[in-house]
């Protein structure tokens, strides 16, 4: 075998702390290595051309590139090999940037380690085999999980491009958090006026199938061919016939249900349509509050319903859909502010969250858009906003900035003045973070034109005094303690990941961070892709996002899906497991441990049970290979022999530079 080694300087990224020419020189001594060199940027056009020329000139069978993470450029170098006529799997990368130069500053020791990584790569390459990909069909339908603004945008874009879309929404109506919001910053547009038509488009679009009150139960398969099970939760109303007339809501005797859509600041009936613009506009029964379902007595709605669509016997239903791609746009939840005991949240009626305040200001909210104190219905004259409740606070496990609270607080302060012209607003803030287009101007307008008092410092305590509240905090700019007497306190609660996000991530087989937000494949270059092919992300499921970013990401994810669907056939990755049937004893432990369901049981001609890998389902994780006691199942490109060769190379005597 003839091997070429290319050591990349990565500008000064690697070369500053690794002696690249020395590594290249030393690599000449490794077995089968016939050519070595070091280049400034191996990934650049001249760098790739150098590889191609060396392959031709020195008749190389395989190439080792010592540079950055294979995640960054493995595909790049594989293409270069292919252009030179080699099989693309005859490439090994030694990660001497992330694994060496970025983590250590001792040049001598870095050089030794870089050489060791190169020798491991050479040892593996000596055991590598050419691999060939298979082709398979693509199902050109897409699943969109979550019907918030990001999901709606993604669904509409895909549907307009002519692809079938299945949208699954957990709640009774699509619209997400944006549907609850009164006005949007910085333009002070009516939120539901700009979202409403898009929601209607979703329900009207011939290419979109909408499952509301539904959740994804299971996702199986692989890019291009996912099998999705959707659980349609029982609504106790036959939605095929329900016209959304609302007669049932008027007559329902049970009126004390917590109104989830109004963030719990009002009550609703047990059979309910959450808001006038709801899509689908269908009623659903809350089984916990329904007298008929709880006690077996009532049934008024069933008597009154003109289309006879009430069905107390309804059960959850599982529907199966075949799709080729998945877009997750599951959004976020609001931080549970009640952990801030010192703010009395949940205890004092007039200490409310920002989203509750949003409902109070909303014309379709429980107060018809009049700001009234929840305790006594009086108009508050002094409103205090407390920022960073559950943001930038390691003490409650939320060290990150939720991003949009500065802006919505400024908006709410401005709107407060519009609603109640003789009111005063105070904002306790830590920093004002308003980097978007027109955002800084907007927060300045709140301060300069609307006279909102901004106090820089955290609030230490809120306590009642008579029917008002004392908000005690610090003003770090003035260097004093301040106390503000308020009629109403609004806590700007931060965003956290949706409650079921980790469970859903496991179903989709994508990674998530320690806060439960989904992880993009690359924070800069693949912001809406995941490491699982065919699964894309949009909106706040990735981390707190405002509306423009969410919409942008919805379109970006849709564009990725369209790129995928523009091909009729996809190539499978040949780096998958393969069974040596003569060794397999048919214990099927591999199948039991496979997290992807990629191994099936077959019977050979002699009637013995054997394992077989479904190539397109296998993700190449290798769990089966370590489970198999016989070593009968081997991961192509990561076989036992290849890994043993690496270990043996690493155990060789150290080379001094």
């Amino acid at each position: 075998m003839r091997i070429g080694v290319f050591v990349c300087h990565c500008g000064s990224n690697i070369a500053a702390t690794v002696d690249c020419p020395a590594v290249a020189e030393q690599a000449k001594k490794l077995q089968d290595v016939v050519f070595t060199t070091d280049t400034m940027y191996t990934c650049s056009e001249p760098g790739q051309n150098e590889i191609i020329e060396a392959i031709k000139e020195h008749k190389l069978d395989g190439v080792v590139v010592a540079s950055c993470s294979p995640r960054m450029h493995e595909a790049t170098f594989r293409r270069a090999l292919e252009r030179a006529g080699l099989n693309r799997y005859m490439l090994e990368m030694a990660n001497i940037r992330e694994h060496v130069s970025w983590i250590g500053k001792n040049k001598e020791r870095n050089t030794v380690k870089a050489f060791e990584l190169v020798s491991i790569a050479v040892a593996k390459l000596r055991n590598d085999q050419p691999l060939y990909a298979n082709k398979f069909d693509v199902t050109k339908r897409v699943l969109v999980i979550g019907g918030g603004v990001a999901g709606i945008q993604a669904a509409l874009d895909c549907a307009d491009a002519g692809y079938q879309v299945v949208m699954v929404e957990r709640e009774q109506s699509i619209g997400g958090k944006m549907a609850k919001i009164d006005k949007t910053f910085p333009t002070v547009d009516c939120s539901s006026c700009i979202l409403g038509p898009k929601m209607v488009d979703v329900s009207q679009h011939e290419n979109i199938t909408l499952y509301a009150m539904s959740e994804v139960e299971k996702i199986e398969g692989y890019v291009g061919n996912f099998d999705v099970q959707v659980r349609k939760k029982a609504t106790y109303v036959n939605w095929d016939n329900c016209t959304g007339c609302g007669a049932c809501m008027e007559k329902c005797p049970s009126k004390k249900n917590v109104d989830k859509f109004n963030e719990g600041i009002s009550t609703c009936t047990s059979i309910n349509i959450p808001f006038p613009q709801a899509i689908p506009k269908k009623a659903a029964i809350n089984p916990e509050g329904c007298l008929m379902l709880q006690k077996g007595k009532c049934g008024v709605c069933a008597k009154i319903c003109p289309t006879k669509c009430i069905d107390f016997e309804q059960k959850d239903e599982i529907v199966t859909e075949k799709v080729g791609a998945v877009i997750a746009a599951t959004g976020y939840d609001m931080f549970d502010h009640s952990v801030y005991k010192q703010y009395g949240a949940g205890q004092y009626p007039d200490v409310i969250t920002s989203l509750q305040y949003e409902r109070l200001m909303n014309a379709s909210g429980p107060t018809g858009g009049h700001i009234k104190r929840p305790s006594d219905g009086k108009e508050p004259k002094k409103v205090v906003f407390v920022q960073c409740v559950g943001s930038r606070d390691p003490a409650v496990g939320r060290p990150y900035c939720s991003g949009f609270c500065c802006m919505y607080t400024a908006k709410q302060a401005i709107l407060t003045k519009d609603h109640i012209p003789d009111s005063d607003s105070y904002v306790f803030y830590m920093d004002i973070r308003s980097p978007g287009k027109g955002y800084d101007e907007f927060t300045r307008r709140a301060q300069e034109q609307y006279g909102v008092q901004y106090l820089r410092g955290r609030v230490s305590m809120i306590y009642p005094k008579g029917d008002r509240y004392i908000v005690r905090g610090s003003d770090t700019l003035a260097g004093t303690q301040v106390e503000v007497e308020a009629d109403l306190v609004v806590l700007a609660v931060g965003a956290e990941s949706a409650k079921n996000a980790p469970a859903l991530a496991e179903k989709m087989r994508i990674s998530y961070d320690s806060y439960g937000f989904f992880m993009e494949a690359h924070p800069k270059l693949k912001p809406v892709e995941t490491n699982t092919a065919g699964v894309y992300l949009a909106g706040s499921c990735l981390g707190p996002r405002d509306i423009p970013t969410s919409v942008g990401q919805g379109s970006a994810a849709a564009a990725k899906v369209m790129t995928l669907f523009s091909k009729d056939k996809l190539e499978s990755d040949p780096q998958v497991s393969r069974v040596n049937t003569s060794r397999c004893v048919g214990c099927m432990k591999c199948a039991a441990t496979c997290p992807f369901g990629a191994i099936k049981e077959v019977t050979d001609r002699a009637g013995n049970v054997k394992a077989e890998v479904i190539e397109t389902v296998c993700q190449g994780c290798g769990i089966c290979t370590v489970t198999c006691p016989q070593g009968a199942i081997q991961l192509q490109h990561f076989t036992d022999n290849q890994i043993l060769a690496e270990v043996n190379a690493l155990c060789q005597a150290q080379v001094d530079f």
Partner: protein
Amino acid sequence: MQALAELKEQIRQALPDLDVVIGWQQGFDALHTRPLFIRSEEDIDKLVVNEFCVVNPASYLRELRGGKKVGLVLKGCDSRSVIELLQEDLLKEEDLTIFGFGCNGILNHTKLQARFGELGFIQSIENDGANVTVVVGDNKETVPFTELCADKCLTCVYPNTLQCSHFVGEESTKKPESEKNKALEEFEKLSLEERFAFWQDQMRRCIRCYACRNACPMCVCKDHCIANSREPKWLSEEVDVQNNFMFQLIHVMHLTGRCVECGECERACPMDIPIMLLRRKMAGVIRDVFAYNAGTNAEDTPPLMCFKVEEPTIEERH
């Protein structure tokens, strides 16, 4: 065993539907039994069940896989290996007929030998359950059973055959002498260096005859044991401390969460290497980490045979 006649009758009735029934027969002397493969009526009379029935009949099952109808006479500990094999889908329940009984413990030949010299000199041996009376020459000595029984019997909590088709006689009410194996307890008091030195010393004696592997009912790789494999080649043929230790550790890792601690490996070892220590240690780890006892319930899935996002006994997130 009083119920022996009853057991024989049960086997007699079941035999027409079975290819073979595995039990024990008298060996070359009174102190040994050897496996008995009952294929016809006359074989049944050779069956014995006593405190010398040390061999685990389940060890023969891997050769009998594939549609053969097999009957087994099993002690409590032996039955755990069958249950483990059932859990791992290596056996089919409908192919098995298990004859169970209550076991009061078995005797350990090494301990007998250490106490009374060559076993050939023992003239008679009697066991009343609590004490063993041994006659060697003119000497007659009575020793508590617990001093001569197999180590596994001292900590045994499953004296009765688990999950059997037929049960004969009365259930054993034997209670474990101690919760944890004494040798293991002593071993765990050693420092890591001392433990390593101990094993280095033991592994010097290992001759890599693979008797431990061959006797193990859970070793199912058959001809493809990685100890002999050339492709990939994990172990050198050289019999030295390193390779011996490597082989034993591989064996233990293959038994992680599967070993039912039947003790066949150690019993089969011609060099008397205490390899059960390694297995008991690992079984303890599995109990601590997964709250799981191998081979006690055929419905269970062994912890290392399934993929779970979160283990109920391991707190990963806070």
